[in-house]
């Protein structure tokens, strides 16, 4: 096959595309600036929320100054005075929780009588649950301290109440631990970015050409239609991979800033070889997505219609990518033939270092076949008059 016409089409289409500000937005600004800013913004909000003092109402406790003082010393809660409508205040999120300390609490504890602390929450509301958790932790800690002191006073061993301990030991390497966390996010991010980077160029080079009237000009040239499509597919693939690579770099840089800027401690023991493996296995998926986007764009009569078809396609790709990140869904040879899902599961395995060559071959092989079929479909559509001149 003479590749010179493909190279000519590729160079022209890429130049044409890069002169469009919308391409710059979708290929560079969105993955490099917007997406990392959103992720950083979300992390910042989460960080602030975690540090925020929860507004908690103190009910009772007048006769138990010691416990109240200990609660105040904790500096985790903004304690507000008691009010009769506390349930309403919790429901309307004016306060996060209320804690009821019986007036004779300290005396009851000292007298070794059973007494109860009651915590009022908004079940399911994250900030209310967080405040309730902190309150429970505080009182559990005080209870344990009290028990320890009493055992010591009665010269009894601590093992009387805790005859054995249960301890967890992590046998996974730091790289594997990081791989599990990153394996849930990275394939999803890469797939979304691959498709997001392919959609705009695909629409512009197909339905956009129809709309602008340049398609007929191009069809009157002596270049074979197969070469024209291959040139276009390669440009869309470039857009797709460039967007994914830029997004990966920008988000990686963002994580480093978070880690070394002391915003949060992140597990960064990622295996560079596994990361390189993820990038390589993404290539047939990017070819598949680019060719499908070209085929859909060709079928559409206008750029608007193409976008209408391609937005659901983005959803169709996101769902399997999300499915793969769910706990309990692991790689098997039946799933190896479901596009997108297979790549996501393989990426998870690669990043956790639990990958087998059989899995790589099954996924790489099936995705290569799908990619070839998608390219063939795009070429076949480009040769159909009813598609090119669809009105």
């Amino acid at each position: 096959m003479n590749l010179r016409p493909v190279a000519i089409v590729y160079r022209k289409e890429l130049r044409d595309l890069l002169r469009d500000w919308r391409t710059i937005m979708s290929m560079i600004v969105v993955p490099v600036v917007i997406v990392p800013m959103i992720i950083l913004g979300v992390l910042k909000v989460v960080n602030l929320t975690m540090k925020e003092e929860s507004k908690v109402m103190l009910l009772g406790g007048e006769g138990s100054p010691e416990s109240v003082a200990a609660l105040r010393r904790l500096n985790k809660f903004d304690l507000v005075p008691a009010s009769a409508d506390f349930t309403n205040l919790i429901s309307t999120k004016k306060i996060r929780a209320a804690v009821e300390i019986p007036n004779d609490f300290d005396a009851a504890v000292e007298g070794e009588r059973k007494t109860t602390i009651r915590i009022y929450t908004y079940e399911g509301e994250p900030k209310s649950m967080q405040a309730a958790g902190q309150l429970e932790e505080f009182f559990q800690h005080r209870r344990e301290e009290l028990v320890r002191r009493r055992l010591q006073e009665r010269r009894l061993p601590e093992t009387l109440l805790a005859p054995f301990e249960v301890k967890r030991s992590n046998v996974a390497s730091p790289k594997q631990v990081t791989g599990v966390v990153i394996g849930m996010i990275l394939p999803y991010l890469m797939i979304v970015m691959c498709l997001a980077g392919a959609i705009y160029p695909a629409v512009d080079l197909t339905a956009g050409e129809k709309e602008r009237g340049t398609l007929e000009t191009l069809l009157s040239s002596p270049v074979a239609r197969t070469h024209l499509v291959l040139g276009k597919v390669l440009v869309v693939l470039t857009g797709s991979l460039a967007t994914a690579a830029l997004s990966l770099s920008a988000n990686g840089l963002g994580l480093l800033v978070i880690h070394f800027g002391k915003f949060a401690k992140l597990p960064l023991a990622l295996d560079p070889l596994a990361l390189a493996g993820v990038c390589v296995v993404m290539i047939p998926l990017a070819i598949f997505l680019s060719s499908v986007a070209i085929a859909v764009g060709l079928f559409a009569r206008s750029a608007k219609e193409a976008n209408t078809y391609l937005q659901p396609m983005l959803l169709l790709a996101i769902i399997p990518a999300l499915l793969a990140s769910l706990p309990g869904i692991d790689f098997n040879y039946r799933l190896a033939f479901i596009p997108v899902l297979n790549m996501s599961l393989l990426c998870k395995e690669l990043l956790t270092g639990a990958c087998h060559w059989g899995h790589v071959l099954a996924v790489f092989g099936s995705m290569t076949v799908y990619a070839a079929l998608a390219v063939a479909a795009a070429v076949a559509l480009f040769k159909r008059e009813s598609v090119l001149f669809r009105t």
Partner: protein, 245 residues
């Protein structure tokens, strides 16, 4: 030379059924002569020219363009033609130079031959003033000159023009018509479709009246006058169409 033999194109429409856009068409265009395809909107002119340019494939029949068959050698046909129509727009984000250069490369010209050729074309068409301006910033006349340069860059022996003056102002239309005449004078085979009678009267050596996808009459203007006994082309056209209605 162009020779159409029983050229037929049928479209299948979901609601309207079969549409015979070009129906058993025969004609012959000789080098150095301008062949006019005259018809109302929807007569089949554009489909006929798209078939000759191999943008569409025929349902039946065939044609040869510069000795190449449109069915068996479409790429060689396209390499032999310059195709200009109102539907052949320019790439707005490329400059006039880049557009012409791109099509020169698509026609297989090496840069060593291509660049002197573009320089000569830009000089001849007075395009140097807007050579590096993006096509979306050009006036209609400038765009038309760029399109002409695009069709001529590979110096094709056959020129196909589909209503090339449609929507143009008087000055731009004059440039295009002058260019068509020049193509004929240079010995190229020219086929030109329009519904404007005056353009056909001024330019064409041979005229074919097309209606409902069929060629109803063909010949030089003098022959058509003799056959119908009428003087003006408009009257001749109406008479021919009514005779076959």
């Amino acid at each position: 030379m162009i020779e159409a033999r029983a050229l037929t194109k049928i479209f299948h429409h979901r609601r309207r059924g079969q549409i015979r856009a070009v129906d058993d068409v025969h004609f012959r265009c000789e080098p150095g002569r301008i062949f006019g395809l005259l018809g109302v909107n929807g007569a089949g002119k554009t489909t006929c020219l798209r078939l000759l340019a191999t943008i569409l494939g025929p349902t039946a029949g065939t044609a040869t363009v510069n000795g190449f068959d449109i069915v068996t050698a479409p790429e060689k046909v396209r390499a032999s033609i310059g195709f200009l129509s109102t539907a052949t727009a320019l790439y707005g984000r490329l400059t006039a130079f880049e557009v012409v250069e791109y099509f020169g490369r698509l026609h297989g010209l090496a840069d060593s031959a291509l660049h002197p050729r573009i320089d000569a074309l830009f000089q001849a068409l007075a395009m140097n003033e807007f050579r590096d301006r993006r096509c979306d910033k050009l006036s209609t006349g400038m765009k038309q000159k760029t399109s002409i340069a695009r069709t001529l860059v590979h110096d094709p022996p056959v020129m196909i023009f589909d209503e090339p003056t449609l929507g143009l102002d008087v000055l731009a239309a004059r440039t295009v018509l002058g260019f068509i005449r020049e193509c004929g004078q240079r010995g190229k085979t020219v086929i030109f479709s329009t519904h404007v009678m005056s353009e056909v009267e001024k330019l064409c050596d041979s005229i074919a009246i097309i209606h409902g996808g069929r060629i109803l009459a063909e010949g030089a203007l003098a022959q058509l006058r003799e056959r119908t006994g009428l003087e003006s082309l408009e009257d001749i056209f109406i008479k021919v169409v009514e005779e076959h209605a």
